[in-house]
Each structure stands twice: as C-alpha cells, then as structure tokens.
Amino acid sequence: MTETIDISGPGMIAAYCLLLIPLAMLLWQGVSILGRVTIAAVRMTVQLLFVGLYLQFVFNLNNAWLNCAWLLIMILVADVSILRHCRLRVRWFGPSLFVALLVGTAVPVLYFTTLILRRPHSMEARYLIPIGGMILGNCLRADIIGIRHFYDTIKRDSRTFEQSLAQGAELREAIRPYLREAFHNAVSPTIATMMTIGLVSLPGMMTGVILGGQPPVTAIRYQIAIMIAIFTGTAIAVPCAILMSLKCGFLPSGPLKSDVFAG
C-alpha cells in the first residue's frame, strides 16, 4: 500500500475554497448564519492547529505521564460539557462523573492497547490518545443521553418515584427502572451504529486507517475492535456515572433534590 499523502499549502487553500459553495448556498437561500459559519471555521482551524501542535509535541516526547495527563484533561473537559448539557450542577456532580468517565475510558483503552494491539507500552501516545479520544467522545454522547434521561424522568415522575419509596423501596430499588431505561437509551445509538456500520457510511477510524496506507482488511479489524471498545466504554460509563451521582442528586431521605438542576 502507498503512504499517506500530505495535504500541501495550496491543497489546504483549495479545501477552504470548498467552503465558498455552502456559503453561497446559504446566501442564496437567505439563511443568515454566515457570521456563525465563519466563526465556526476560524475556531475549528485555531483549535485544530493548537491540538495538532500539542499532539506533535506529545507524540515526539511520548512520555507516559504526559500522555495520561492529556487524557485526564480531555476527561475533565468532557465532564463539564456533559453536566452543562444535562443542566446539572457541575460542583455537585463533577467529581463523581469524572471518576465514571475515567473508568469508562481507561478500562477499554488499556485493554485495547495491551491485549488487542499487544503494544509493549500501553501508554504510547500514538495509540492512547486517539483511541482514548474516540472512546471518550462516545462516552460523552452516551452520558449526556443517559444522565439527562435519568434525572429528567425522575423529576417528571416524582410521584411514582416517591410512591415506590413509600412502598418500602430502597433508593437503589426505586431508581432501578429509571436507570434501566436511561442505560437503554444511552447505548441505543452505539448499537444502531454497529447495525449499519459500513452500509450507510465508512466510519472515521476505518477511513483513517485506509488513508494511512493500510489495506482495508486491517482497517476493518481496527474498526471492529474500536466499536467493541466504544460499546464497552459507554456500557461502563453510563451506569457508573448515574450510580455514583446518587449521593449528589437525592436527599438522604430518598426524594430527588429540588435544586438538582442548575439555573
């Protein structure tokens, strides 16, 4: 197979020129989001430039501690982002969600690098950061769906929830149907992706491996392994995040705290 073809300066200019087509379409249809599109394009460029430079530095150094620190920062950003999306108080839920995300990311990523790729050093930057990022990104999406569903449903069904407490349920028994439903909803998109993968679109990792010059069979192996790792990560992160948040979300006597939602 051939090596990856780098995109040259003129090539990048050509890529930005492609933006003129959607901008023209938006102008033509009178959709007034040109400013937002421009800001989004600039932000994307600046963010990716920064990340690219940093990753280059991290990859060159390839220090296990630094790699872990980078992963922890990614988890911290995901932590705050999930809670903001769920409108939950970051100060209350932040620490427990951080631990859940850490476990949900670290277990599959270390399994992947150690037992699937069989790398001598499981903390190698080249594998730990992109694979960890893919798993974390999917944990983020699943946690937003799962945690939001869990707390929103209990708030909406507070009378049914309190009735189960009145009937003698312990907190873990009373939350069980809500947890089950939240978990189901959270992992459903990953299962749907697994069902249609390759038929509807070629997944990002597979595309990356092919563009990187590897044969499609290798790309498929990577894709299968990463999909299973992603599913494992979400299946760990969602219930862990919910169960570890109970102390913050519920009163010691059982009901949901009335001020659990921020703002």
Binding site: G168, A169, L251
Partner: protein, 219 residues
C-alpha cells in the same frame, strides 16, 4: 390508654419563606382512625409528606412508635407505613404487575403471600376480578384510587396514610372503601380530607388550624 403510634409535635413547614404548616401537633393512638380536615391547599398533603420523610420540616418533630423521623430512621420507618396519594400514580403495566411490584423490594419479599388476598380485596372494593389484567392507564380515577388502596393494604403496615381517599369515588365505591377501612382491626389510619365525610367512620376528627399557615402545598 392506647400506645401512641404517631406523635406530631409543633410541626412547622415553610416554602419560599411562607409558612404552610405552623406549630401543628397531633397524637394518634395505635389502632385509631383519625381524620385531619382543612380546606384545599392548607397543608394536608404536606403533613403526610412530612410523615413519609419526603419533606424536612423547619420546626417540630414527628415520631412513629416512639422513634423520631429523621434522614437515617426514615428508611426503616417507611416500612411501618402505607400511603395512598390523592391522585395515585403507580406506574405502567397491568394491575396485577403493579400490585406485585412492591413485593420485589427487599423489605417486602417475605410478604409476597399477601397477594393471595387480591381477589377478596377486589370484591370488597367493588372492582371486577378481570381488572387485574387491565393496564393501569386504562383505569378511571376512582378505580386507580381503589387499586392504590389495595396495594397499600397488601403491604400490611401498621400505619395507613390516606390523602383524600374518596375524592374520585362515587357514593357506592366510597361506601365500599369506608366499610373496608372500618373493618381494619389492628391498623392505625391517618387520613386527610376537605370534610368530615372523607372518612365518616373515623374515631376522631382534627382540623388543621385555619389560618395557621399560608395557602399552598409542597409537591
């Protein structure tokens, strides 16, 4: 002199800085059936929610069989109470599933045999036996209320808390409920309602002191 089942002392509950209940006291003896009346929104449901530990009062105390209700004790004390809400929401599923659900909880597992009483209770409360196979969502408000009462009675708890138990019932159904409650030998009943006819066979009727609190309930 009967032992005291429930002791409420100087209970004060505020919401948004306004008093809902102010210095309310009540003593209910074992086996006694007491009705607390007050107009709508004067804190009747709030009172029951405090007994159940769903609300923490700003003042006063509640004790069940001498044991003070607090965040730690409430989990065990709730297993001494059954509760029927004014508009019961017991969840989705068939009536049979809904009645069986509480027996999946660790605290009630040994009582599963009480489900054998369902046909008798349905008869007593003038509900057809076939209702057991119906979905809860398809029932009328009065049917739901009687199913909620059956769910509460099956748990066989010493204290029964009833919120407007006859609010959604026609006269015959309400009579069936009152007769069933009057037949309870050992259970203590604390009911709340608008008028004395909310529990006509009550041993005692107490009024929530009118004007002691602002209008409103805490949900």
């Amino acid at each position: 002199m009967k032992d005291v089942m429930l002791q409420i002392s100087a209970l004060t509950v505020h919401a948004g800085g306004k008093p809902i209940l102010q210095n309310f006291s009540l003593e209910v003896g074992e086996g006694e059936q007491v009705l607390v009346t007050a107009p709508s929104g004067m804190g009747k449901s709030t009172l029951l929610r405090c007994v159940l530990g769903f609300l923490t009062p700003q003042g006063g105390s509640i004790a069940l069989q001498g044991e003070p209700v607090n965040d730690q004790s409430i989990w065990a004390l709730r297993r001494q109470m059954s509760y029927v809400a004014q508009e019961p929401v017991l969840g989705n599923g068939t009536v049979r599933d809904i009645l069986a659900r509480p027996f999946d909880y660790h605290a009630n597992r040994d009582l599963r045999h009480n489900l054998d009483r369902v046909p008798d209770l349905l008869r007593q409360l003038r509900l057809p036996q076939e209702i057991a196979e119906q979905q809860m969502e398809s029932l009328s408000g009065g049917e739901k209320q009687r199913i909620a009462l059956i769910a509460a009675l099956l748990l066989d708890r010493p204290l029964l808390l009833l919120d407007e138990i006859s609010a959604s019932l026609d006269r015959d159904s309400a009579e069936a409920v009152f007769t069933t409650l009057a037949g309870l030998q050992e259970q203590t009943v604390l009911a709340v309602g608008h008028h004395a006819d909310a529990l006509p066979k009550a041993d005692r009727i107490e009024m929530l002191p009118y004007g002691s609190g602002q209008q409103g309930e805490i949900q």
